[in-house]
Symmetry: C2
Subunit: 343 residues, 2 copies
DNA sequence: AAGGCTTATGCAATCGTTTGCATGAGTTCA
DNA sequence: TGAACTCATGCAAACGATTGCATAAGCCTT
């Protein structure tokens, strides 16, 4: 059973009566190299009969390319991020490329170690979701030559990336909320991250521009978890002048906020409106169904893989400033309502 | 930038004035080989100064081991499975081992191709969740020598695995339901899989033993998705004698069943009780909070990694029949109620 | 029929480590 | 002082594929 002995290119060569180089050439079919029809067929047949399979490790050593791309994901258990990863893998597969992924343990040191190790095994990297210590990570990545693309994650430095237009997304949400009459709007987000920072500054700009009511406690720094949002919204709701609506920077947090509000005896959306960002499946089935700003996962994954592949194949140094911005979309469901009492 | 030129062991050797072999030996610190304190220190220092990093591909080619373990997951977007993967990675990391994962596209051919490719890159494999075409996959795996462990996935053949005691889990659920007075109990599960088969036959055995009411329509073959369960429960509820309780083989399905029942105007748990299996986070926050049979994710992941590591390190052929069975646990929340009308 | 040209294939070096074996220096003891 | 032994290190051969260069065979042309 474990005596399984893999057949190498040399075995095939011997059995077919040709040299190893020839076997390699027929197997790779590189354009420009001519192999006679006869040997072509013969070698292929022998390889098949022997059950030859390429040893990709050896190939990688010689060519300095593993042919693999990797994705490092902030939290593989976050529905939005894991869906993004799944889509990315699906698209890569369709293009004949293998994608492997890793969950980023939530501290800078581990992620750095993980990244360093992934750079050895992968030709290119997808960074999915805001990472702990974003900036250090991208500095690290730039030092090495490994091509990478950041997805749903907003480093400050110019970096190949694909994101929604954050300002537009926040604008969509706030326009909708103010149309419903809300003037006191809370913000729940993990402000430790550059991606959330972009959202926050758009948020604050609009609050100011619309001259909405604002209190510094309306900003609740909150980790990317359901549980975190539960306590955050409860803090918001016990304020002297609680917000009548809350914007969360992810659907998971929004779902937590809804749960937290109910637990505290506030009805959603009657007593408080909640809006999220992402549009995860669960939001369609939750009670009330979640109003949210949709990030188009499929488009983003496609764009990211395309861009990454460009970077990988490019031989000369590429401009690292390229970024792709896609449009978010307001999905109205039932977690937001017109404000019904004195604002 | 892309002119980054990695420093090899030869560079270090040259700079330190020793041979490559020596450098390798001090770096690997294999017990039994003696290196003088002086060179030890010197080499380490030079390597450090030059910023040497091991090329794991070359090392893998020579040693025939990549030092990597892989996990293939039925659906990376399934909260239970992705949590299992995350735990497995965490545990592997803590032991200094890197774990990479892939989502299994949902058809046999793709999975086979994926598996074949993973066998080249990984020293060992974790199979997480029921797979399409289970049996073929395990046959394939056995042919090769690659060690693997199946987790939360129940092939028929003797195979290294870790699972809950399925019969006990179903027993826990049915005892609870019958204690609440239910005699008509529906079953929602993806019966195409061996894992679900084990649950189904336990279910049918107990239904028979307890002489509960049974109709073949009470069995609703349903894919592992929320959406599938929505239509399944609606089919159940329009039966002439609809079940008063429904057992789902995953929490995701149970959540779908709850949503489907509400949509059809049936209150949960007042009109129909729903129980799931897994105990995912979402079930704690859903309305009503989900009663379920808990699979202890942490214990299972730990056991799986331990077992896999044994198999990987073992040089002689191991008994492939070893399986680890852990105990499930009934988690009572609020999606099941005493049956209130004529059974 | 011989020289020139194309074309298919073989040869051997290479990628960066690891590791069995050989060797030279250093130590100990008679 | 020299023989017997350690012990640390160097040497070179792997691991399995790829690829630039050389070469043999075949064909065409004059």
């Amino acid at each position: 059973m474990s005596t399984y002995k893999p057949v190498t290119i040399a075995d095939v060569a011997r059995a077919a009566g040709v040299s190893a180089g020839t076997v390699s050439r027929v197997l790779n079919r590189r354009s420009g190299v001519k192999i006679s029809e006869a040997t072509q067929k013969h070698v292929l047949e022998v390889a098949d009969r022997l059950g030859y399979q390429l040893n990709p490790v050896a190939s990688a050593l010689r060519t300095q390319q593993t042919g693999l791309i990797g994705a490092i994901i902030r939290d593989i258990n976050d529905p939005f991020l894991s869906l993004m990863a799944r889509e990315a893998q699906r698209i890569a597969h369709a293009m004949g490329i293998e994608l492997l992924m890793g969950h980023a343990e939530y501290d800078l040191l581990t992620v750095q170690r993980q990244l360093r190790f992934m750079q050895h095994w992968f030709d290119g990297l997808l960074i999915i979701g805001d990472m702990p210590g974003d900036q250090e990570i991208f500095d690290d990545l730039n030092k090495r030559g490994t091509p990478y693309v950041a997805v749903a994650c907003g480093p400050n430095s110019p970096t190949p990336r694909v994101n929604i237009d954050e300002a537009q997304g926040i604008g969509l949400a706030l326009d909708y909320l103010t149309d419903l009459g809300h003037r006191r709007i809370g913000f729940i987000g993990d402000v430790g991250h550059a991606g959330t920072q972009a959202r926050l500054s758009a948020f604050q700009g609009i609050i100011h521009a619309k001259t909405l009511d604002w209190h510094e406690d309306y900003l609740q720094p909150t980790p990317y978890t359901r549980a975190g949002a539960i306590t955050s919204i409860q803090r918001l709701l016990t304020l002297p002048h609680p917000p009548t609506a809350v914007l969360c920077t992810s659907d998971l947090q929004a779902l937590g906020a809804v749960a937290g509000a109910w637990q505290a005896g506030w009805r959603v959306p009657e007593a408080v409106s909640v809006i999220g960002i992402d549009d995860i499946e669960e939001g369609r089935y939750s009670y009330p169904p979640l109003t949210t700003i949709r990030q188009p996962v499929g488009d983003m994954a496609t764009a990211a893989i395309d861009l990454l592949l460009c970077l990988v194949r490019e031989t000369e140094p590429v401009d690292t400033g390229q970024s792709i911005i896609v449009a978010p979309e307001l999905i109205v469901r039932r977690s937001c309502a017109r404000v019904s009492f004195g604002g």
